[in-house]
Symmetry: C2
Subunit: 170 residues, 2 copies
């Protein structure tokens, strides 16, 4: 893990430390704004924000077990069931039993799902324009690319992190 040069014991009383700014809160804030905007647009399509997240993950992953999906989305397996029930009821997704392990369901987008996802993304242009309006088109592409790469990075479980993390490291 990255161990940068650490804090100096004697900072001025009003330090304004620029180097420790975190993306977390900003991410939180923008995601929230985006979600608020998206809901009204998604409703006519019979989708909710979380559905869209799932569909996106499914498109990127091709086919994936429900466990894998739960791990990727970081939500409880039991809740994945309900999510997929929604999507399957609308024929956007299909569960096929895995041939090599018949306990597993391999989840993948149907053609209708692919199409619906595209419609949704199209409909979200306005929301994105509004929330990311301060960024130039090229910057938005850059942002997308960074977010995509970050999303695909390894996702360790909370347990692992707690185990490995130890003290606060700062």
């Amino acid at each position: 893990m990255f161990r940068g040069p650490r804090k100096l014991g004697h900072m001025s009383a009003v330090p304004t430390d620029e180097s420790e700014r975190r993306s977390g809160p900003l991410l939180q804030h923008l995601a929230r704004r985006m979600r608020l905007r998206s809901e009204s647009v998604l409703t006519p399509l019979g989708l909710r924000p979380r559905h869209l997240v799932a569909l996106t993950v499914l498109r990127d992953s091709g086919g994936i077990s429900q466990q894998g999906l739960a791990a990727t989305l970081q939500i409880d397996g039991t809740n994945v069931v309900g999510l997929l029930n929604d999507l399957e009821a609308d024929d956007l997704v299909e569960r096929r039993r895995s041939p090599e392990d018949r306990r597993r369901h391999v989840v993948s987008l149907t053609e209708a799902g692919t199409k619906r996802l595209r419609e949704a993304e199209c409909a979200l242009a306005g929301a994105e324009e509004d929330v990311l309006g301060a960024l130039a088109p090229g910057e938005r592409d850059l942002l997308y690319e960074l977010l995509r790469r970050a999303s695909q990075g390894r996702s360790s479980s909370c347990a692992e992190v707690v185990a490995e993390g130890g003290p606060d490291a700062c």
Copy 2:
């Protein structure tokens, strides 16, 4: 599932359109992962993710009315009250009556608040490392900068957008 009024799109039958990918779902996904990681780290500091968002906004804005804060955070004014009550109870924030309009409270970080925010950001290093681990340090800085600029862009209200938006524009 959640049956809204349907509206069939008429899209070309074949494509895999790369150009309409949206950052929204990715933002959603990463923000969620970051929030899950953050909570356990923030708890010992007596903070919640939303507190951190508020503190961050306050640091960036210097002093701001509660209405302004509500608009920026895009949460209801009545909920801002509770949020600020939390923070003020911990002496992280102060409300001063505005001299030029004594109805207003100007909210700003206290010194303790600035300090606590820095501590929190410091403690969040691990969470960020985990969620953004796939990005190189320079890329994380870039991401932060993009997010910051996007956050500071004008935030129109939902009402405005609905009024101006009209049809889907796609």
